[in-house]
Subunit: 173 residues, 2 copies
Amino acid sequence: MKDLTEVAQKFVLHWGEMGTRWGINRTVAQIHALLFITESPLDAEEICEVLGVARSNVSNSLKELQNWGIVKVVHLQGDRRDHFESMKDVYEMFRVILAERKRREIDPTVLTLKTCVSEADGDGMENYSKQRLKDLLDFFETTTNFYEQANRLPTKAAVKAIKMGDKFLKTFS
Amino acid sequence: MKDLTEVAQKFVLHWGEMGTRWGINRTVAQIHALLFITESPLDAEEICEVLGVARSNVSNSLKELQNWGIVKVVHLQGDRRDHFESMKDVYEMFRVILAERKRREIDPTVLTLKTCVSEADGDGMENYSKQRLKDLLDFFETTTNFYEQANRLPTKAAVKAIKMGDKFLKTFS
DNA sequence: CTCTTATTTCTGTTAATACTGAAATAAGAG
DNA sequence: CTCTTATTTCAGTATTAACAGAAATAAGAG
């Protein structure tokens, strides 16, 4: 595996940095970036070399990416090593990421809010505070309902919808 | 300032936890949660006591929340201490947060991608990789364009649009 | 101006997380 | 089954970010 070009390097580093800002491990994001721009699947050893991180770190990060569902193992003819490739369709990829974040973070938050709202009576909480929790719950329910629906569209339709929505909204302003 | 009720505590802790998952400091998120559910503006000392964190921590966290634009200082008659209150309209609040995250993270990413794409020729980068970067850039431009337009709608219209969009999409499925 | 009180800044500590390298395990070839 | 090679697990280390407490600064009252 030859070294990354300067541009590739720049992208991988930036993506890693972005990851950290969104609560994603730097190495995980870097590996994802690398796999995303690389045409052929890479094995773990190659990833180590290119990124200069420990084998175990790569192993764990790849697991994480597989948990996210945006990286898959593939096997190449006559090579017993695992090779890894990223999902390539950008829209699809972000849909998967979004769905996963919803599952991991939004759903539990909605659950917590529901519990809070239902326990709020008999807890001595101010009515004002109760109402704020209700507002918040309502916000999450409304937006996630919308998301659920929008997410049923196949990617192409979704992209079209976004572009049409954009144009449509422009006629207002 | 009296202690938080159990429910309030549960919410504040959860919100803090959520913060960390999205790259937001735990204390920052906790203070935000506290101010959000509290009707009257609080001073820094009160926040310290309720959350049990150091004064300096509160001070810095409040600065951060003010930078985000979701917490404001208010002054009360006959009290020289600063008091703080959170934006209360949930939709508006998330709009502000989203706008700020775009400004801080998405815009720089778009810039980086543009640079990468334009420098990709003469860098020896594979055509395949170049294309992936272009795809990614296209994705960000399409979605942020849409976002920009959607964000021009006043909150009420936006909420309506979300609810209508939800209903509309349901007719498909 | 001076005193008091609020706020911020700074420095050191702690805690959390990321990471490494070695050891253990697993998996495939022969 | 045995040997080799790939992968994972684990225990320790390092890095980073969060936080506390003290010191410095600022701001308001009188």
